[in-house]
């Protein structure tokens, strides 16, 4: 089992292309996040974002967010033409700062959940969702 130099390079490039997917974190995404955070720092951790690794259809992708103690959680689809998805504001009778819904994803992209904590800090979690193109279903 031998690979020629050319083949090895090709395989290597393929691996790089797979690990560095071209996510367009475009200006619209940054704006949406800034509107929520007011430009404050956002640190990783403390938020759980549950989303499928592969979505069978981008029309209906089940996602769940959970950030214990959060006042609000914003969900952003960084690769959608309009990145904002929803903002969950938790009231005094929320038994947990968690919710699930079904969202539309325009293609393979990172989905981000940012939680605003009562002390004014922000925390985040992100998850890559591959959106498949149907074989013949389209």
């Amino acid at each position: 089992m031998e690979f020629s130099r050319r083949e090895t390079i090709a395989l290597g490039l393929g691996a790089v292309a797979l690990s560095v997917m071209p996510f367009r974190v475009h200006a619209a995404t940054e704006e949406v996040i800034a509107a929520f955070t007011g430009g404050a720092d956002v640190t990783d951790g403390g938020v759980t974002l549950t989303a499928p690794e592969i979505a069978e259809n981008g029309n209906t992708v089940p996602v769940a967010v959970n950030a214990p103690g959060a006042a609000a959680i914003m969900l952003v689809a960084t690769g959608n033409p309009t990145p904002a998805v929803a903002t969950f504001n938790f009231g005094e009778l929320a038994a947990a700062q968690s919710a699930s819904t079904r969202i539309r994803l325009a293609g393979t992209q990172d989905v981000v959940a940012i939680a605003r904590m009562p002390d004014g800090t922000f925390i985040r979690a992100a998850s890559t969702v591959k959106v498949t193109i149907g074989g013949c279903g389209g």
């Binding site: 393929g14 592969i54 029309n59 089940p62 498949t132 149907g134």
Partner: protein, 284 residues
Amino acid sequence: MGMNLFKTTAAIAGLALMGTGMATAGEESALTINGDLTIPTSASAPAHLENIDMVTSGWIYRTKETQALQMDDFDNPSFVFVDVALDLWDKVDGSEGKACSSCHENGPEEFAGLTASMPRINAEGQLETTTELVNECRTERMGAEPWKYSKGKMAAMTSLIGLQSRGSVVNVAIDGAAAPYWEKGKELYYTRVGQLDMSCSNCHEDNYDVMIRADHLSQGQINGFPTYRLKNAKMNTTHARFKGCMKNIRAKPFGQGSDEFKALELYVASRGNGLTVETPSVRN
């Protein structure tokens, strides 16, 4: 040789990537709905099937997220349309001043088991579908306009009627007066058509459980129809799906409600004899 090996390796890498998270046909999958209705998703193939030993529900080819949508009637978006049909059930329409409920006093439950045996031969010796039964009621007994064959109201009503058979074993008759229709349907199933020159069997018999690009091919069983598809977020009828398949292979589709599609519906339904009715199911 070197290039072939490279291609093979790349193909395997690609398959492995796509394979993650996909349900695998044949693995132990249990479809339990609302925690109490367990539906077997495979069965021994009916005697007339020559090339397949086991028949399998399309449910097992879907991702676990899509599968989960069918496991709870609140999570299953089909029930929005079942609710629409329940409203239509009581709605007076046509010159006779009747609703479905005017005659069917015991509710849609009167149709328990019906869908498991449809399409079937009627008193006149003709093949009839559930859709035709509904429209016959509308035109003959209600004095109302027939609904379009696969549009919203009809798809909703046949979903409500199909739900009454959920859990029943599919058993359509293929002998006697049904035989010539069944033979015609079988011929259509195996006939290559369209620019891509493909038959139903090329995908759903020869290549089920294989990925066609990113899609996991099923056996094309219709025991869950009408089905809610994530793709278009509505109920999809058997004939609408046949039409979609024919367009995909660049063929000119037969009409919905045509003799060809009715015969094909009988044949495809008979390929699922032994499976369990899942209507209204959820697919991608």
